[in-house]
């Protein structure tokens, strides 16, 4: 029981830190923090697909694009963000189902290739169909959501709004992972053959994990639109899908808070390491390779290793252990 108290107080501390972080800081700092939250949402979704269901998706950025552009077009047409966002979310979920259904019927890492192709296709459509998407010029001037007394125009207000959305998204994810679905996901990644023999429809839950993960990507995209108030296809290219994938891996795939840690490393670190400039990606990718060789479970995997050294595993395993990428 002591373990739970420690975890909850740690989480509480983090929440307090998240609330206090932007106070007194400049707009740019707040903007970066908001960006971190948004990418944490995208990474959370991918974590479900990769860390729990064991599938590589290289399309998370394209789902962000679908969410972003849908929200942009609707809010430009006068819809409130709270109504536009669910449309984008739903669209991403459906597209995720449509994409995953055939791709997951075959063995191997075919989903990786299909999502790779999909991401590039989405990029092409965004770039070429200017009548809808503004092509290379993108879309500008999307409004920040207004909640009557609370306007998100100010950067810090928008941060708190994003924080609230992130908290809800995290709670929903927690609910999913804690439920019997979560147990089935865990079984899927640890021993899919045994799971199948116990009645777990592995194809169906893999597909669901992928679709839900994609919906989270859409949510993240829906937040990008009002944050930057300007979107263009280049922001959602394959390289961004790779970045999100790296976030999940570095944080620790299959760990609940992995995405937050990973997103922090990818987004916040370069801000603090300005001096490395162009070398940043070189250092980063080299670190990822080294990390995968020695600590394939990511940063939180290191934490778990240390914890196991200090305390024997007498507690309940569910949700405390991460995945081994197989």
């Amino acid at each position: 029981m002591g373990g739970s108290w420690l975890r909850y107080s740690l989480i509480g501390l983090l929440v307090v830190a998240a609330i206090l972080a932007p106070v007194g800081q400049g707009n740019y700092f707040t903007y970066v923090l908001t960006s971190w939250l948004i990418f944490s949402i995208a990474a959370m979704g991918l974590n479900l697909t990769l860390g729990y269901a064991g599938q590589i998706s290289l399309a998370q950025a394209s789902f962000m694009a679908i969410g972003a552009y849908t929200t942009a077009l609707l809010t430009l047409a006068g819809w409130h963000w709270m109504l536009a966002m669910p449309v984008g979310l739903f669209l991403c979920f459906v597209v995720g189902l449509a994409l995953g259904y055939p791709a997951l019927r075959v063995k191997g890492h075919f989903l990786a290739f299909v999502t790779l192709a999909f991401n590039t296709l989405v990029f092409l459509v965004l770039r070429n169909e200017g009548w809808l998407t503004g092509g290379n010029y993108g879309l500008i001037g999307m409004p920040r959501p207004d909640f009557g007394l609370f306007s998100t125009m100010r950067q810090i207000n928008f941060y708190y709004f994003t924080l609230a959305v992130t908290a809800v998204a995290a709670l929903v994810m927690w609910g999913i992972v804690r439920s019997p679905w979560g147990r089935a996901f865990k079984a899927l990644r640890e021993n899919p053959i045994r799971a199948e023999s116990l009645g777990v429809d592995t194809r169906r839950i893999t597909l669901l994990a992928f679709a839900i993960g994609s919906a989270y990507g859409g949510l993240a995209g829906a937040l990008v639109t009002p944050l930057v108030q300007f979107i263009e296809p280049g922001s959602f290219g394959l390289v961004h899908s790779l970045r999100i994938l790296l976030m999940v891996v570095v944080g620790g795939a299959g760990f609940f808070f992995g995405p937050f840690v990973g997103a922090a490393v990818v987004i916040l670190l370069p801000e603090f390491l300005r001096f490395t400039e162009g070398y940043y990606l070189i250092i980063y990718s080299a670190l990822v390779i080294v990390m995968l060789a020695f600590v394939p479970n990511g940063l939180l995997g290191v934490g778990a290793l240390l914890r196991d050294r200090l305390r024997p595993a007498r507690q309940r395993a569910d949700m405390v252990e991460g995945a081994r990428l197989k």
Binding site: L50, G54, I56, P102, A103, V106, K107, H109, F110, A112, F113, V114, L116, A117, F118, T120, L121, L124, R127, N128, L238, L242, L245, L246, V249, G278, Y279, L281, I282, Y284, S285, A286, V288, I289, L292, A293, F294, P296, R324, L325, K326
Partner: protein, 292 residues
């Protein structure tokens, strides 16, 4: 009609180079369960080795090429296997895929930082005067590329089928456990697969870079095409990768000329998705078993 021949032959030429890349990709996948997402960058880097040889070390072209080939085999073959694949493969296929993705980024950014972000001209290995063939004007370069690539494929196939080492490599790909019992040095066969892949990538690099100019971002398109060619053709057959490469090359050219320029890149992607849905073993692949 003559324009069609032109476009077709040109497509075949480019496609044959794609085939080299796809074959190497398939080799490594079959022999070592390694899906190398850095394959595109493996084709981008050797060109820069040559440029360094030419402009920094002031070597004559043939020497720069030789040096680049040796370096490629060492770095993209031996070091790749020892430093990336061996430590990470035990953690599982997904870790390795992600590691190769990171490697691709590493190579790309390194070239960008240490050599330069602009496209660099690359010396043509073969002359590119136009010649007349079947009434169409074809570039000599295209023909030579086609000839060279197909020649390499033939040599490779002969090696794999007719030599003892080649057959050992095939055995390793099909069933490493049994191969080991039969006395095959499985580790060495796997190493050979990596070395051959590096050599193929380097050759492809030498042939294709004169056309595209050397740029750090070349890897993206080339890598994607390699995967698509390998999967479309048939993931478990060399001739599948060959067929896939040629097909993509021709279709790509035909699409760009006759259908659409904007969505040119879409065709291979749609083809990939279609094949995975409808015939995951690829056009020439077999649904069971693997061969090198």
């Amino acid at each position: 009609m003559s324009q069609f021949m032109q476009v077709f032959l040109s497509g075949l030429a480019t496609g044959s180079i794609y085939a080299l890349v796809a074959i190497g990709f398939t080799l490594v996948w079959q022999a070592a369960q390694t899906v190398n997402f850095a394959q595109g960058e493996f084709v981008m880097v050797p060109a820069f080795f040559v440029l360094v040889g030419l402009h920094v070390l002031h070597l004559p072209l043939w020497m720069a090429l030789a040096m680049a080939m040796v370096l490629s085999i060492l770095v993209l073959g031996l070091l790749f296997k020892k430093l990336v694949v061996e430590p990470i493969l035990p953690s599982g296929g997904i870790s390795l895929i992600i590691a190769t993705m990171a490697l691709g980024i590493l190579l790309k950014e390194s070239v960008k930082e240490f050599y330069g972000a602009e496209a660099q001209p690359f010396p043509a290995i073969v002359p590119h005067d136009p010649i007349n063939l079947f009434g169409a004007v074809v570039s000599m370069q295209d023909l030579m590329n086609l000839f060279l690539s197909l020649g390499i494929v033939v040599l490779l196939t002969l090696f794999l089928n007719r030599t003892r080492t080649g057959r050992c490599m095939q055995a390793t790909a099909q069933n490493p456990a049994v191969a080991e019992i039969l006395g095959v040095d499985v580790k060495r066969m796997i190493l050979y697969a990596f070395l051959i892949n590096a050599a193929l990538a380097a050759l492809a690099s030498f042939l294709i870079t004169p056309v595209y100019l050397a740029k750090f971002s070349n890897g993206e398109t080339l890598g994607l095409i390699a995967f698509i060619a390998a999967i479309v053709g048939g993931f478990n057959q060399i001739r599948g990768a060959l067929a896939g490469g040629l097909l993509i090359g021709v279709l790509d050219n035909l699409t760009a000329t006759y259908v659409t320029a904007e969505y040119r890149a879409a065709l291979p992607l749609v083809l990939l998705i279609a094949i995975i849905l409808l015939r995951p073993q690829g056009l020439l692949g077999t649904s069971e078993g693997r061969t090198v």
